[in-house]
Symmetry: C2
Subunit: 140 residues, 2 copies
């Protein structure tokens, strides 16, 4: 069903299935009282939380650990003017449990950039919303 | 020059040139005290501000008009693990000047979705930052 604004809302399962298709998303947070956003590669954990791998002393860790953040991913096609976007909103925390950290070193995402003193940041998928845009000018 | 974290910072002109290449970016703002993000198609105006076209009564207009927001665009390639991202941070305002509104109806961005009572939102490019990621595991 299309909403009147041309978007079809996606349910949680559709959102997670789409999230799993793309390698990069964007962490949305607050830094020095200003809105901030950083693209990062990520993976979904078995509990549908978003996992990032970064440096222990990164600005990102300082800014997000313990705070509610948003995480966005999307895919759009400029020719057909169609696509989808998904936003996960939830608390971000650095994984501190040693066993969990070990597991993620083996199975978690690998950072696309060189990092130091690897840590994993988990964003709980407390709220998952998404929408699909289909060409509003199409005849379909 | 590569920074030690694998990113090359981009200057303002490089950022604006890259922004002009892509049709979709993401508005990053605060909604009900939570970080929020919405992908939208956009255009750059002659003064390097970001222009969005939306419905006058949209949630986005209510949330951003008069506030400092971030606007992000990026392109990444998963195979080469390379790409770029640009963030514009500045005050967002609805264009209220009738002459300016008329000009933008003719020359401004067209929304990818059906909208009602078109308004234009301008995000001033007060701060423009960007970075380029090249494959850290490459030999280049």
């Amino acid at each position: 069903m299309l909403e009147k604004d041309g978007f079809r809302p996606l349910d949680r399962q559709e959102c997670l299935r789409l999230l799993a298709k793309v390698p990069v998303g964007r962490v949305v947070y607050t830094r020095q009282a200003l809105p901030a956003v950083l693209p990062v590669n990520f993976a979904l954990d078995a509990d549908a939380s978003v996992l990032l791998r970064t440096s222990a002393r990164s600005d990102l860790v300082r800014a997000v650990d313990g705070f509610v953040v948003a995480f966005e991913a999307d895919e759009f096609d400029a020719v057909s003017r169609s696509g989808w976007s998904v936003v996960v909103t939830g608390r971000a925390t650095v994984v501190t449990d040693p066993g969990e950290h070990e597991r993620l070193l083996r199975t978690g995402p690998r950072s696309w950039m060189p990092i130091h003193e690897d840590v994993f940041v988990r964003i709980e998928s407390e709220m998952v919303t998404g929408r699909e845009l289909t060409d509003p000018h199409g005849t379909g």
